[in-house]
């Protein structure tokens, strides 16, 4: 018989791994029909899924959840509910209409609010893919996104498809201080490579800090206040 006493359940209540939200923000405007770009994008995302899953598996402290937004004339959720990366299947998108990138960022901002996002988690990854220039108020959409706690703390990446993509806008989305630049993809192979590269952003190695004299503690775990609370 032992002198020690055991609790009947986990101290402090149930434990749970943190979520890492990965969001595709995809330009499906009419110009994406040219040169097979939209077909290449569909193929690229499907083919990059194993890379995304592999990167997610390397991040043992997180459950990676995937969503997708498309924008053309307006914006809508292509996959509204966050899906565990292992269950995520890509449904092809079609191209038509304008390039309402601002509406897409506004929609993503809504999706990153707390709630429905958890208060605790790893910083999300937002990947913006576009071949053109915004036809709506991009700056307002970006402002709404950055006004959310998770939006401001997200890792933001951009892929420029073709030579008409607005690199300045994409760089503004990424942030000028991040050290990242838009990735250029001018042909189907390059699109696949760029999408696959973006998928690795959920891996810890991608997310490690290497800045100046500040040292990374353990990971980029953040606690977000409820965005619906008045300030």
């Amino acid at each position: 018989m032992t002198d020690e006493v055991q609790p009947l359940r986990t101290l402090g209540g149930p434990m749970a791994r943190r979520q890492l939200h990965f969001v595709w923000i995809l330009d499906v405007s009419g110009s994406m029909r040219a040169d097979g770009k939209i077909q290449a994008l569909n193929v690229a995302i499907s083919e990059a899924l194993p890379s995304l899953r592999a990167a997610a598996q390397s991040n043992m402290s997180a459950d990676v959840m995937v969503r997708a937004v498309t924008f053309s004339t307006g914006a809508k959720w292509h996959c509204a509910d966050p899906v565990p990366v292992g269950e995520f299947r890509w449904q092809p998108v079609e191209a038509e209409g304008f390039t309402d990138m601002g509406a897409a960022l506004s929609l993503v901002a809504e999706g990153l609010r707390v709630p429905p996002m958890p208060e605790r988690g790893l910083s999300p990854v937002l990947v913006l893919v576009s071949d053109g220039q915004p036809t709506d108020d991009f700056a307002d959409g970006l402002r709404q996104l950055l006004d959310t706690t998770w939006g401001s703390r997200a890792i933001r990446l951009a892929i420029a498809i073709g030579r008409d993509a607005d690199l300045s806008v994409l760089q503004t989305f990424i942030g000028h201080e991040s050290g990242q630049r838009p990735v250029l993809a001018n042909d189907p192979e390059a699109i696949i490579a760029a999408i696959r590269w973006a998928s690795t952003a959920v891996a810890p190695t991608f997310r490690e800090s290497g800045s100046s004299l500040a040292v990374a503690g353990d990971d980029d775990l953040f606690y977000a206040p409820d965005d619906s609370r008045p300030l």
């Binding site: 032992t2 020690e4 434990m15 353990d218």
Partner: protein, 278 residues
């Protein structure tokens, strides 16, 4: 340096004895990468000092290549603190100085070999960064409980009424980085506090963030600390190492990070009598 004294020390209050239980579990991510734990924990007690307990969490930053050694030096520096009474700030100063001395001594015999330009630049600016770690320190004498904290992790006190609260909690940093004992301004970054014996908690919990990161809610660690105190008080028996080991294992599996904890049960005349009466 931030220092807080939680009220005057009452001459009538004395801490009679302490029980220290520790656990350290390698994170599941580290196990998968076949890395050992970057955490360290240890305690000592002699004479007027009932216990000195230290918990350290070596930084994952790739430039901190000797992080585990740095964590071990935290434990060694804590154990080497002078036995005479110290204010919390003096304790922090002595602790940081001794840690630096150990690091510098090791560096002198084992120069760093940078693998890349980033590490080279960082180490030229501050070679101690290679040993970067957080540090949680708690020293208990008959008169007071003193705490020093540098970097992240939890320092939780459970009061006699069972309520738990975080002590010396730093402001969260937006860039994911942490304060470090390896920083040149470690003295400024150190948070310290003393609780007089008359107001001593019944339980102190020092834990690396591998625990807190395993929970979905911010107050879960506080609840865990309260439950541990109830377990100890209701049973009248010491908190078992197997209890903490199992808890640490669960946390390390879920968070992926190393999970290290020290639970310190503190008995004054009042709380000691309460525990024995059950």
């Amino acid at each position: 340096m931030n220092e807080r004294i939680a009220g005057p020390i009452a001459a009538s209050g004395r801490i009679l004895r302490v029980e220290v239980t520790t656990a350290c579990e390698t994170g599941s991510a580290h196990r998968r990468q076949q890395r050992g734990s970057d955490d360290a924990v240890g305690w000592t007690g002699a004479g007027a000092v009932l216990a000195t307990v230290a918990v350290a969490d070596g930084h994952s930053d790739p430039r901190c290549v000797r992080r585990r050694l740095g964590a071990d030096f935290v434990v060694a520096a804590a154990a080497a603190l002078p036995p005479e009474p110290l204010t919390p700030s003096a304790m922090a100063d002595a602790f940081i100085s001794d840690w630096r001395r150990r690091v510098d001594q090791h560096l002198a015999g084992n120069p760093l070999t940078p693998a890349d330009a980033a590490a080279d630049a960082a180490w030229r600016a501050n070679a101690r960064m290679a040993y970067g770690t957080t540090a949680l320190l708690c020293r208990i004498t008959q008169d007071a409980v003193a705490v020093v904290r540098i970097g992240d992790g939890d320092v939780i006190a459970v009061a006699t009424d069972g309520r738990a609260r975080r002590l010396v909690a730093p402001e969260p940093r937006s860039d994911g980085s942490t304060e470090s004992i390896s920083h040149p301004d470690a003295q400024r970054a150190a948070l310290s506090l003393a609780i007089p014996a008359a107001a001593a908690p019944i339980l102190m919990l020092l834990a690396t963030d591998g625990f807190d990161n395993a929970y979905p809610a911010e107050d879960s660690m506080l609840r865990a600390a309260t439950e541990l105190a109830e377990l100890r008080r209701d049973s009248g028996r010491p908190i078992g190492s197997d209890v903490l080991n199992r808890w640490a294992r669960e946390a390390a599996d879920v968070s992926g990070d190393d999970a290290t904890v020290a639970a310190i049960w503190i008995e004054t005349a009042a709380t000691g009598g309460m525990a024995r009466a059950r």
